[in-house]
Structures are given as structure tokens and as C-alpha cells.
């Protein structure tokens, strides 16, 4: 017995064709993180020994803030995709797997959001 509607079957619908979405997003964010990571490391090096005022001054410039937000978004997106695979590989109990995935996605989302909002607060002169 098929649960698909006759209209869906005749139109060839079924798969949402998004089976490789996770894979693509992990690679896309990885590619974006290559230049962003190099930018981040060199920026941090230029801030070595600098105090609060110098750091805020640097982060408040539009390009720094833009790249920092991009770095945070790409990092946390990439990170939750990666941690998802790790959890799916090692947590075999369905309940525990579901719970740990929910907690992990929630925590990464909150951490990413608070970091982005902090950058925006500095960039917009809060």
C-alpha cells in the first residue's frame, strides 16, 4: 500500500531532493571558513596585547564586523552539522540521540546568536 497520493505519483513527486542538503551545507561552510579563518587568525594576531578600547575600535569597523558575523554564522552552522554526525554515530539509543541532538542544536544556536548580537552591538555603537 502506498501512502503517496495519485497526483503526487503521476507528477513524480516524492523525494524532496534534499537528501544531500546536510552534505552540501557542510562543504559550503567549510569552503567559506577557509578565507574567514585566515582573516580571523591574522586579525587576532594584530590585536595581541591590545586592550578593550582597541578591540572594540577594530570590531566596530564595517568590514571587521561583517567578516566577524560571517565567521560566527559559518562556524556555528558548520559546527552543528559536524556535531550532529558525531552524535548520530555514537549515540545509539533513540531517545538519548533525539535529546542530545535537540540540546546540541539549541546550545549552538544560542551561542552563535549571542556572539552575533554582541558584534552588532559594538558595530552599531551600542
Amino acid at each position: 500500500m502506498s501512502l503517496r497520493t495519485p497526483l503526487g505519483r503521476v507528477r513524480g513527486l516524492g523525494s524532496a531532493k534534499e537528501g544531500v542538503h546536510h552534505w552540501w551545507m557542510q562543504r559550503t561552510t567549510a569552503l567559506a571558513l577557509v578565507p574567514l579563518t585566515i582573516w580571523f587568525v591574522s586579525s587576532v594576531l594584530s590585536l595581541v596585547g591590545a586592550g578593550h578600547a582597541a578591540m572594540v575600535d577594530w570590531l566596530a569597523s564595517p568590514w571587521s564586523a561583517t567578516f566577524m558575523v560571517l565567521l560566527i554564522v559559518a562556524t556555528f552552522y558548520h559546527m552543528q552539522l559536524g556535531l550532529q554526525v558525531v552524535i548520530e554515530d555514537y549515540v545509539h539509543n533513540e531517545g538519548a540521540k533525539f535529546a542530545s541532538l535537540l540540546v546540541m542544536k539549541g546550545v549552538t544556536f544560542v551561542l552563535g546568536l549571542v556572539a552575533v548580537l554582541s558584534v552588532l552591538k559594538i558595530a552599531l555603537g551600542g
Binding site: A30, V41, A50, M55, T75, V114, S118, G126
Partner: protein, 132 residues
Amino acid sequence: MASDNRPLSPHLQIYCPQLTSVMSISHRITGVALSVGTLLLVWWIVAAAAGPEAYDTAAGFIGSFVGYILLFAWTYALFYHLCNGIRHLFWDAGYGFEIETAYTSGWAVVIASVALTIITWFTGIVALGGSS
């Protein structure tokens, strides 16, 4: 559905580690370690937004002995994951699957990640010496 000729996962107790397999699991381990490391990144940025006092607390921890150890470990993990990630992207594009190439690119990643870590810390220490 038991079958004798299905592939088995390696028995880890008797499995002889190779560069390629060790690097594979290291990619995952550094990925998880870097996830924990993002806590430091978030703390740094949130503290900067919170004000000079909070920033000094965060910077004080990062500049402490424990902070330096963590930062050094995360610098290596970052460069390892970055370099090996590029190696993975080449595989995803269909290149470098020959055994010999996999070993050459593997050693290239090991050398590059160590070199980048040393260069970064050397630059940082020189900058710190110049700023104080």
C-alpha cells in the same frame, strides 16, 4: 541477514593504526575540540560588548597559564582541521584518492599544521614583546 563476505568495521584492539586512519579520527577529534573552543571565542566577543571590566576578565583568563595552554592546543586543532579540511574538499571533488597521494597529502597536512601553529605563535609572541 548474516553473510560471511560483508565488510567489517576494523577491530580497534588489533587494528594497526596508519597515518590515514589516525588523521581521519583526528579530524573528528579536533572538530569536537574546536566546538568546545568556540566557548572562548563567544566569551571574548560577549565580554567586549559588555564593557572594559568584563573584557579584562576574559583577556586575563586567556593570558593566564591555563589560557595559553588551551589557546595553543586550539591553535593547532584549528590549523589541523583547516588543512585536513582542505584535503577532504579535494577528495569531495574526486581528487587524490590514490594510496600514495593520500599519504603525501597526509604528511603535507601534518607539516603545514605544525608550521602554521609555530609561525602564528612566534608572530604573537613577537607582537606581545613589541606592545609591552
